[in-house]
């Protein structure tokens, strides 16, 4: 990757390292361009959330730099940053009995005074299929409903931005499959309409294969591969997770010929360990 590419990138990481007690992540040399959709995959503890927090500016780069719009994250003020990137976190508790509308409106706090706020809140709720939740208390909602409201909050934050960055950390993993796909569709539509870049930490390989342009495979704090989601990615994914994948192409479901995979149990050290030990003895 050359310097020009970094300068044009929405977000660029140059030798960025995160140092946590006892663990080191990176160095990462990566660029994200406006409109790109990137899925971060990897086993638990690979550093997916850490990489996302580095991109969000939540973790400072111990070495190297992370730039958004060409400016180092460390030099940008929280409010200025909030107008260019939003983060949908993994868990989303809200203290006190905050009303849903207020939770969504808080996405607009960096734009206050904001005359468009009520209209944007209503539109963002609609885009996240949460209009019916307006007026309720957030802490009385179910997990799926809370996820929709948090999605609406993130939509509100980047509603009138263009080519901004949306970072998403496994927000859907605890939801039922129908809702997962519905919210993923809403997320994809939102980012496509505004040329936002979408970077998502995902657990579901098929969600990554179906809706994303690039896969970042993370293993033990290092980037193992940066691949398009085609058949060539399958062996890398198998190695990443230590499983076998059977390819399924469902032309009816997806005319673009996108790939889907079925995890198949493979003889791995974990499964061997559960077999009877009599032969070894």
């Amino acid at each position: 990757m050359n310097r020009d590419e970094w300068n044009q990138a929405l977000l660029g990481m140059e030798g960025a390292v995160v140092q946590l007690p006892g663990r080191r992540f990176g160095p990462f040399d990566l660029a994200v361009h406006a409109g790109e959709r990137i899925a971060i995959l990897g086993p638990s503890g690979a550093g997916k959330s850490t990489l996302l927090k580095l991109m969000a500016g939540e973790h400072a780069a111990h070495a190297g730099t992370v730039r958004l719009d060409g400016q180092p994250l460390a030099t940008r003020r929280a409010a200025a940053l909030a107008r260019r990137r939003a983060v949908l976190p993994q868990s989303h508790g809200v203290a006190f009995g905050m009303p849903v509308d207020l939770v969504v409106a808080l996405g607009r706090i960096a734009r206050e005074p904001d005359p468009a706020q009520p209209a944007v809140v209503a539109q963002a709720l609609a885009a996240a299929q949460a209009t019916h939740l307006a007026g309720r208390r957030f802490d009385t909602l179910s997990g799926g409903e809370q996820a929709r409201v948090q999605l609406a909050r993130v939509f509100a934050q980047l509603w009138d931005a263009h080519g901004a960055l949306l970072l998403v950390d496994e927000p859907l993993s605890a939801l039922d499959p129908g809702l997962q796909w519905a919210l993923m569709d809403a997320l994809q539509r939102f980012t496509r309409e505004r040329q936002h870049a979408l970077v998502a930490v995902l657990h579901d390989i098929n969600q990554a294969l179906a809706g994303f342009d690039r896969l970042w495979l993370l293993h033990q704090g290092q980037l193992q591969a940066d691949l398009p989601p085609n058949a060539q990615a399958v062996p890398a994914l198998e190695r990443l997770y230590g499983i076998s994948l059977r390819c399924v192409v469902d032309a009816n479901a997806d005319p673009s010929g996108r790939l889907a995979v079925l995890p198949v149990r493979a003889p791995s050290p974990a499964t061997l360990a559960t077999q009877p030990m009599s032969e070894a003895a």
């Binding site: 969000a56 500016g57 939540e58 003020r77 929280a78 409010a79 200025a80 940053l81 909030a82 107008r83 939003a86 983060v87 976190p89 989303h92 508790g93 809200v94 203290a95 006190f96 009995g97 905050m98 009303p99 509308d101 207020l102 939770v103 409106a105 808080l106 996405g107 706090i109 960096a110 206050e112 706020q117 009520p118 809140v121 209503a122 307006a134 208390r137 802490d139 909050r153 934050q157």
Partner: protein
């Protein structure tokens, strides 16, 4: 969406609280050993020196009632801000040891360092206690923040237990001070740890009202950021809140107001805990509405408590701190039950 308070004075909840406050103020000035006539209200404007019941009204009851309202409002605001800062409806400067930190520093000045007071110019001596109390409150606030994050990050129980420990340490120092105190020092110390508004004067009301005015103006500006803090610290940062700056501002307001209240009125507990809770149940959790209403509720609670405390056993006077603790203790248990029920036992 109707959460933005366009004209707070016209909001029915605000109007209700203000009406109740005015009514309570009138009633409070009527109650007491000396009968006050309606004519006494105009005596101050007649130009003659006040005598008899007019003196009682204008120099004793009115400043005292206004002091109760100001201190109550300050405690209510401190409670609401502390709860917002720690994202926890059970937080309160009293429970977390902030006010006892103020008391501890002030007790040290009253007793152990009483001899050193001679070195201070006489004009400044009145400020010795408030300044010491402020330093004590600030120290506990900062210690609490650091320790709760460091020992038990993110844990509500950890925060309250850290506060409990700090409370125990500071109160032990207060105890030590009273052990070392002379009889005369002990009298003022005891009286003061029980909490009382009998120091009321127009000058004191003026000082506290000015501080409260500045602090509440600043708090109002922080209200929306405080709302964002309810999303969690990381998420508040993501939507554009400068969290360290917000936290510093909140700690400064809480330490200043707690210290001023403690320095002149001693330890008055539970107002800060109950006032925001009373408000949040009705008016919702939006801090832009909770902060002013918690001030009104705190003012009303303390005015009623003080009026009862000074009239229930006329001519004797029960220290109001005892009274608020008697009422507030069971109130806190009630609150605990409600919170536990809401959070499914994760309190």
């Amino acid at each position: 969406m109707n959460t933005a308070p366009g004209s707070p004075l016209l909001h029915p909840a605000t109007r209700g609280w203000l009406l109740a406050l005015v009514a309570a103020l009138v009633v409070a000035t009527q109650l007491g050993a000396v009968q006050v006539a309606p004519a006494d209200w105009w005596a101050a404007f007649a130009g003659d020196p006040l005598s008899g019941s007019a003196h009682v009204l204008w120099h004793l009851r009115l400043p005292r009632a206004l002091l109760a309202m100001t201190v109550g409002a300050a405690l209510g605001l401190c409670g609401a801000l502390t709860q917002g800062l720690f994202r926890n409806p059970l937080a309160d400067p009293g429970l977390l040891g902030v006010t006892s930190g103020a008391a501890c520093a002030a007790a040290l000045v009253l007793t152990v360092f009483a001899g050193a007071q001679g070195g201070v110019p006489p004009a400044w001596r009145a400020w010795l206690l408030p300044v010491a109390a402020f330093i004590g409150a600030l120290a506990v606030c900062l210690a609490l923040e650091r320790m709760a994050r460091w020992l038990t990050p993110g844990s509500i129980a950890g925060l309250l237990l850290t506060g409990l420990a700090l409370n125990a340490i500071t109160m032990a120092i207060v105890g030590l001070c009273s052990y070392l105190a002379t009889d005369e020092q002990l009298r003022s110390l005891t009286f003061w740890t029980l909490g009382s508004l009998s120091a009321a004067s127009w000058g004191l009301v003026g000082v506290l009202a000015t501080a409260l005015g500045v602090c509440s103006w600043y708090a109002r500006r922080l209200a929306q950021a405080l709302n964002a803090l309810a999303l969690g610290e990381a998420a508040a940062g993501h939507v554009g809140v400068d969290v360290p700056r917000l936290r510093a501002g909140l700690v400064a307001i809480v330490a200043l107001l707690s210290a001023l209240a403690v320095a002149w009125c001693g330890l008055i507990g539970f107002i800060g805990l109950m006032a925001p809770h009373l408000v949040r149940g009705r008016a919702g959790a939006d801090q832009r509405r909770v902060l002013p209403l918690a001030m009104a509720a705190g003012a009303l609670l303390l005015l009623v408590a003080d009026t009862v405390a000074r009239t229930v056993a006329v001519p004797a006077e029960i220290p109001v701190g005892i009274f608020t603790a008697l009422i507030g203790g069971p109130g806190f248990l009630f609150l605990l039950r409600g919170v536990a029920r809401q959070q499914g036992g994760h309190a």
